[in-house]
């Protein structure tokens, strides 16, 4: 640990630099940009020079053909005359002509001597020449004439060579400029990348330290990073809600389960201390068992709600028609309602296709019906309807009971919340919490409304479309 020399430290820093995603992205950008610029330059270079070369070759070829035609038609004098004509007319200052006899004597032309190395016919040469004492470079082509004579036609390339130099210099400049721009772009990308990532990593590490209220700032540009930020924030909101739920549950367990546990314990202790007959003991044990069953039921309801809120039950989702499901429920509860002399007024549309977990929907609706039956007086009406409204399946259970006071309505879906009217009745205060959790799991809502008088509970779930 103490033996970390400066060399290894700098090596580590270098490695860390290449491990940075920002640097990697920037490098990739620079390399891709540089390569494409290089390819562009090379392509420009070769196509420009190639085109020039080609044009010159064409001109030389055409010129030579014309001269050969002169020779064919008018013989040597005509050819010499045509060459002389070209030399004097100076239509093309770069034109190079040389007519040589079979013995190697120059008959006419503007070159001082036959260029060295020019040995084969009808092949393109690029050779140094001297024209009237001035040396230069020329593109040359030799045609064999009858009688051993040779005609050399060419073009002076000096100007074009200069052009090539200019072009090369230009391209080199442009290329270096491009590389500089590429590096700058890469650095820019890296800093952009870093800044965005820094926001996200600052937020997440703050959350890791325990500050769940932090959110990733959204720039508002609407780019991919914004999308990512929004997604992350949504995720964080959901986690915060879940954590809130867990906190609520632990608080609730601490407060609300203490009561029945205390009651059961008191009964057992009382019986142990004071029960004088076997029957009294038996009765105390029976009641304590019932209390414990009640506690277990509360536990199960709590676990079920958390299970639903976590969303782990989506595996059981399927496309189902709610009509038979709700009709069954109507049949199950109609008997109970009649027993209590309550009129159950049911209207269920058909079909009601939804993407849902059948068990959960049943349980949610059963909770609403249970509630309504519990709080309804005899000879009142409970209305149970289900229909499609604006692309949503709407399940309504409305009773004429005491309802929920307006200030309590929002809190009625909290775990263990019990309204004024419910205090004196049996129940755990978990029923509506479960209904809400089920509705939300199905991307739906639960609304509690005033039924003037009574409670009107409305579950909405999106209609399933293929």
């Amino acid at each position: 640990m103490a033996r970390t020399g400066p060399a290894s430290a700098s090596a580590r820093r270098r490695r860390a630099l290449f491990r940075s995603a920002g640097v990697r992205f920037a490098l990739v950008y620079a390399v891709v940009f540089g390569l494409s610029a290089f390819v562009l330059a090379v392509a420009l270079w070769y196509s420009t020079l190639g085109l020039l070369q080609h044009q010159v070759q064409n001109a030389i070829h055409n010129d030579a053909q014309t001269l050969l035609e002169h020779q064919e038609i008018g013989g040597l004098p005509s050819l010499e005359e045509a060459v002389q004509d070209r030399l004097t007319s100076s239509s093309d200052e770069d034109g190079i002509y040389l007519l040589m006899s079979a013995t190697g004597q120059i008959l006419t032309g503007n070159l001082d001597h036959w260029p060295a190395g020019l040995t084969r016919d009808n092949v393109w040469y690029e050779l140094p020449v001297t024209r009237r004492g001035v040396s230069s470079v020329a593109l040359l082509n030799v045609q064999q004439l009858p009688g051993g004579m040779k005609l050399l036609v060419g073009r002076d390339m000096q100007a074009r060579l200069e052009l090539r130099d200019v072009l090369r210099a230009g391209l080199i400049w442009a290329l270096s400029l491009m590389i500089a721009l590429g590096v700058m772009g890469a650095l820019l990308i890296r800093s952009l990348f870093r800044r965005t990532i820094k926001d996200i990593s600052a937020t997440t590490s703050a959350i890791a330290r325990g500050d769940i209220s932090r959110r990733v700032p959204v720039s508002g540009v609407g780019d991919e990073f914004d999308e990512l930020a929004v997604t992350i924030n949504e995720m964080l909101d959901r986690i915060a809600r879940l954590m809130d739920g867990v906190r609520q549950v632990s608080n609730a367990i601490a407060h609300d389960l203490r009561t029945p546990v205390t009651r059961a314990r008191a009964r057992l202790e009382d019986a142990a201390l004071h029960a004088s007959t076997k029957d009294e003991m038996q009765a105390a044990i029976d009641r304590a068992t019932l209390d414990l069953d009640g506690i277990v039921a509360v536990f199960e309801a709590l676990l079920r709600i958390s299970e639903i809120e976590v969303g782990s039950r989506r595996a059981a989702f399927a496309c189902i028609d709610l009509t038979p499901v709700l009709t069954d429920m109507d049949e199950l509860y109609r008997a109970v309602a009649e027993e209590k002399q309550i009129v159950l007024h049911t209207e269920i549309e058909t079909p009601l296709p939804v993407w849902a977990d059948r068990d959960l929907i049943q349980q949610a609706v059963v909770n609403l019906l249970d509630n309504s039956l519990k709080f309804s007086e005899s000879l009142t009406v409970i209305s149970f309807t289900a229909k499609v409204v604006d692309g949503m399946v709407q399940i309504v259970v409305a009773d004429r009971g005491p309802g929920i006071a307006e200030q309590d309505r929002l809190r009625a879906t909290e775990r263990f919340f019990r309204g004024e009217a419910a205090r004196s009745t049996q129940g755990s205060g978990l029923g509506l919490a479960l209904v809400l959790a089920v509705a939300q799991l199905h991307n739906g809502t639960l609304h509690l409304q005033d039924n003037h008088p009574g409670l009107r509970a409305v579950i909405t779930i999106p209609v399933y479309k293929d």
Partner: protein, 227 residues
């Protein structure tokens, strides 16, 4: 009946064993998965009560999968503290015939185990069910008691059919909810009691003797008076 209980918790196992013996069954006990697998594979039982989480390297699921892999079809009831829906589904998929979550009432366990063994024996394509003078024809879907025809709603028919198939056994409210309505949760209101009382009005009320009995702290039982 000969029942194997594979359960590692001493108190729970003792309670279950005692209860089953009192109900007249012969009981064997294993307190870990290895012994449980050995016993269940080497001897014949009418039913196995199996804990999910067991010591000894083989848990309840593994034990059952191994057993089913050997074409052993002994009815198995899972008894588990793992009560989530997924756990239940896993247990039934592995070849379990029923699933009961801890904590449980002994009456519920007993009723379910007895229902399992009955199901194992007489799942033949019966077309006629008979309990005392009550007769159900499953083909014409008609019910008569003695000479008198009884008219039942479809759901009442299914309720009575379930009770008749388990005649002489205790049937709990949860079993009825699951078996007749296919509901896997407990409503707060006494829905089952209401439906049973309606069924009674039709099946028992007009006659001298009653067949449908309430078993305190447990559920219901359909049985002829003379048994």
């Amino acid at each position: 009946m000969r029942i194997l209980v594979v359960e590692d918790d001493k108190d729970v196992a003792g309670f279950v064993l005692k209860g089953l013996r009192e109900a007249g069954h012969t009981v064997e006990h294993a307190d870990n998965g290895r012994d449980g697998l050995f016993l269940s594979a080497s001897e014949n039982f009418d039913a196995i009560i199996l804990d999910r989480m067991l010591p000894g390297g083989i848990d309840g699921l593994r034990l059952l999968e191994t057993l089913r892999g050997q074409d052993n079809t002994t009815p198995v009831l899972f008894l588990s503290a793992l009560g989530q829906v997924d756990d239940r589904v896993k247990g039934l998929k592995a070849g379990g015939d029923d699933y009961l979550t801890k904590p449980f009432a002994f009456a519920e366990l007993l009723a379910r185990v007895e229902a399992l063994t009955r199901r194992g024996k007489s799942d033949g394509p019966a077309t006629r069910l008979l309990v005392g003078d009550l007769e159900m024809d499953l083909l014409s879907r008609s019910v008569r008691r003695g000479a008198q025809k009884i008219d039942l709603q479809p759901r009442e028919f299914r309720l009575l059919e379930y009770l008749m198939r388990h005649a002489g056994q205790v049937v709990t409210r949860t079993m009825l909810l699951e078996g007749v309505w296919d509901y896997h949760f407990d409503p707060q209101t006494n829905v089952i009691d209401v439906h049973i009382s309606r069924l009674r009005q039709k099946v028992d009320k007009p006659f001298d003797t009653s067949l449908l009995h309430t078993v305190r702290n447990a559920g219901y039982m359909l049985r002829a008076e003379d048994i």
